[in-house]
């Protein structure tokens, strides 16, 4: 049986852990607010961008752009894997990585090569362990996430796609739905699946724009940016999701600490009482013996 002192030390330890998890919870909630603000700031750009793309998509019938062209034979699949740099976020990273790896394995089973473009340390570590090829990895930069980062990932993937070393590209990231829900999502990045066509279903606006350069030229400018916008959106979501997941995980941990302190205190009291009882029996026994 644990001694009184052992139990006391353990209670102290659990209380300290609780302080840490509580602090991490608060830090995560502050960071989540920052991440959500960034999503908010991105929205005007994204909205306008999709408006424009929708306008143009409706105008151009069959814009032949290399980024739109699906390859007849897919030999190499690229996966952009967005995860967090740090752990202690519950199953958040594991979920994304598992989804991506499952996908990679199914592609492998079809005889395709799989390459990973990693953003975030956790994803890179997991993928590296399994020996997949990793052309680029951005590690330790999730904290300073900006559009430039998304642009560099996007550019790299597009270069490889246009250069022929990739035939299709998917992105895996944690979609931010709510504080309690951040499911892993896979998004086909390249070739661009009839970009803006869904928006094109909306009846074309009455406005007759003058385009400069002509529609196809503009699309050639818009499409690469579309890829970057998609990547950026994925990264922003991942960052928000990470903090939300960490908040939930730390909240749980704090609650578990409380429970554990309760259980340990009970044990402490029981042990103490047991000790007192034993002592009393000793004394009473001694007195009885003397009487004899």
């Amino acid at each position: 049986m644990a001694s009184l002192k052992d139990v006391k030390i353990k209670i102290g330890g659990v209380k300290k852990t609780k302080q840490i998890t509580k602090a991490m919870n608060m830090v995560a909630s502050a960071k989540l607010r920052g991440a959500q603000q960034r999503i908010e700031r991105f929205r005007p750009y994204a909205d306008k961008f999709f408006d424009m793309l929708g306008d143009l998509g409706g105008q151009s019938e069959d814009a032949a752009h290399p980024l739109l062209a699906a390859r007849d034979e897919v030999k190499t699949t690229g996966i952009v894997l967005a995860t967090s740099d740090r752990g202690l976020a519950g199953s958040f990273n594991v979920n994304i990585i598992t989804a991506a790896l499952k996908f990679a394995q199914s592609k492998k089973a079809e005889g395709k090569d799989v390459k990973f473009y990693c953003v975030g340390k956790k994803g890179r570590d997991a993928v590296r362990k399994l020996g997949y090829e990793i052309p680029t990895a951005l590690v330790g930069q999730m904290n300073a996430l900006d559009f430039g980062m998304a642009a560099s990932v996007g550019n790299r993937v597009m270069e490889d796609f246009l250069g022929g070393s990739l035939d299709e590209v998917f992105m895996f990231y944690g979609e931010f739905i709510s504080l309690a829900k951040q499911p892993p999502v896979s998004l086909p990045l390249l070739p661009i699946a009839s970009a803006g066509k869904e928006e094109g279903d909306v009846p074309a606006k009455a406005k007759d724009y003058i385009y400069e350069p002509a529609v196809d030229g503009l699309l050639a400018e818009l499409l690469p940016r579309f890829v970057k916008v998609q990547v950026y959106r994925g990264l922003l979501d991942t960052s928000a999701s990470e903090h939300a997941a960490r908040m939930a995980a730390m909240d749980n941990a704090t609650r578990n600490c409380d429970e554990m302190v309760g259980a340990l205190t009970l044990l402490y009291n029981k042990t103490r009482q047991a000790a007192i009882t034993t002592e009393l029996i000793d004394i009473v026994g001694g007195v009885e013996a003397l009487k004899g």
């Binding site: 005007p44 724009y209 030229g217 503009l218």
Partner: protein, 133 residues
Amino acid sequence: MASLQLDIVTPDQLVLSRAVDYVGAPGLEGEFGVLPGHIPFISALAIGALHYKAEGKTRYVFVSGGFAEVSDDKVTILAESAETAENIDFARAEKARKRAEERLAQKNEAVNNIRAESSLRRALVRLNLQGKN
């Protein structure tokens, strides 16, 4: 007098939103000017300096390419990055210029010339705007 609403948005923030009298922007096929009453117009932008007139003053904004949409006396600029002249980090631009020039001077196959050239152009445009506002 009728005026234009100028909005400059980047993925990271809303750079500028105000009423102006005139906007001159670096289109991909040449500079163009927008006055109130302009017909609806969409253009791709080159790396360059955008300027606008408001309250009798001309002000400059750096844009690193993107798009401009003109409709209903509203000018919306979508740029990957944009900075008003007073917010440009000139020290950084100077460093970027040196780095780009070095890269171009190396004439190395491994160096992506197109990328170095456009980063040189960005740096030069930024430096040109020094003290303009």
